[in-house]
Amino acid sequence: MSVVFFAIAAILVISGGIGVVAARNIVYAALSLLVAMVGTAGVFLIGLAEFLALVQLLIYGGAVVIVILFSLMLTKIQDFEFLTANKQWPIALIVAMCLLGLLGISILVEGSATTTMGSTNISELGLSLFSDWAIPFELASLVLLIALIGAVVIVRRDNGEDK
């Protein structure tokens, strides 16, 4: 049964990914990204990482793709025509292959762990997130803060000095 679910999730991820790269319409590309994200959440779910799956849906499906679509829809589609004639694809291919190699090597080294069915303990998750992994967690929030400040700076420059 889980093979069937995995097949569905994998098809979602792969078709979504191909859609992001190959779609001529930029809004289609963003919607394909959503499909890929939902598929990834499905893969997490099969790996019994429910919390991760829900976070994936909430942050990538809910927030990131919506913000991307929001900004795309405020612009003209004609502005993005150069995207379909991308000259940088060899670099992207090399980077993607490197990432694939890295993931493959890490799986070969570590071996594939089998997880057992069990309920995620949120309080344990929170404790380890804020004690063992506190610094990475805070660093991630710093990245978001920088993005926010950047947005404010861009908006203020457009507005001039009147405020």
Binding site: M1, V27, L31, L34, E50, F51, L54, V55, L57, L58, G61, G62, A63, V65, I66, V67, L69, F70, M73, L74, S119, T120, I122, S123
Partner: protein, 379 residues
Amino acid sequence: MNMPEIVGLFFKASLLLFFILMVVLILTLAERKALARIQQRKGPNRVGFKGILQPFADALKLLTKEDILPASANKQIFWVAPLAVFLPGFLIWVTIPLAKEVVLANLDMGLFYITAISVLSVMGLLMAGWGSANKWAMIGGLRAAGQLISYEIPFIMAILAIGILAQSFNLKEIVDDQAQWPFAIKQPLGLFIFLTAGLAELGRTPFDIHHAESEVVGGPFVEYSGAHWSVFYLAEYMNTFTIAVLTVLLFLGGWQSPVLPFSGTVQTVASLSWFLIKTALVIWVIFWIRGTYPRLRIDQLMSFGWKILVPASFINIFLTASVLYYALPHWVITVVSLGFLGATFYFIKKGSLAGNKQDTVTIINSSDIRAQLSNKAEV
């Protein structure tokens, strides 16, 4: 999972869908009757006894209407959009318990699941707005996205505070935790934030700027007709019911009741009815707000969300967490929460946070104009 289990699950899901469809039909009639009562009208009273069959007539009419596809619309996205709005709203219902044993699947992270899934319905509104190839629909879709993203933060924060208070994300455990005191008494500020942000998430009348008829005609739904239009409204009423049910589950103690001397199936039925009575009260409050408050302007909506609700929700979470961490008695939350609720109302009343003053329209009395004119004449 074997074949009978899948068939059983499918049967339960279709039963749930049928239940929700019935609730939506009742809600449409109830809302029209409630609004009519507020506006001193009679409301629908022709079809059936006192208009009881009106929703069925409406549904029949909508289903037999012609489905129109605008010539320049994007066909796939235009047709998928209603489903993308409806499906997340329906998927939420997988984990919502209506009574102690009446639930499809009681998830340990039910509350988190609800927040994660409900976010996805914005996508459908954006798709509808963009796919319609209509400037009003486009503006409406963008408004919907902006509004929903803004109000999601206080909404999720209010839910998180409940999770902290109950020490669980499991909806059943949250209700069990309210056996003595419902969380509405412990967190009045949280209830206010949840209900207000929930109304904004629904896009119901004080917050319905994304389909404001006077500004963007019908918003994302302007090009839709017939069955597809009705799917949008089905989703809206279903979400209204969801918010009311969640308010009851999270704040009003769910199916917990003062005295239920029954046991077994009778008790289930009794607690289910008690639960539905509470839900009906919350729904009535939502209709009441719709009937009595005018629509907010978009800048008022944004400044209300970011300058009042978001800080208030942070205060709410901070308060709950610190009281639990220092093991203070729970009435401390109540008292401080009430204080901050008062402060919130003060800020709303004062209106100093309403934003762009230069855009507000001032109404001048004719007598003032006459006085000004006579002053000029004297000079």
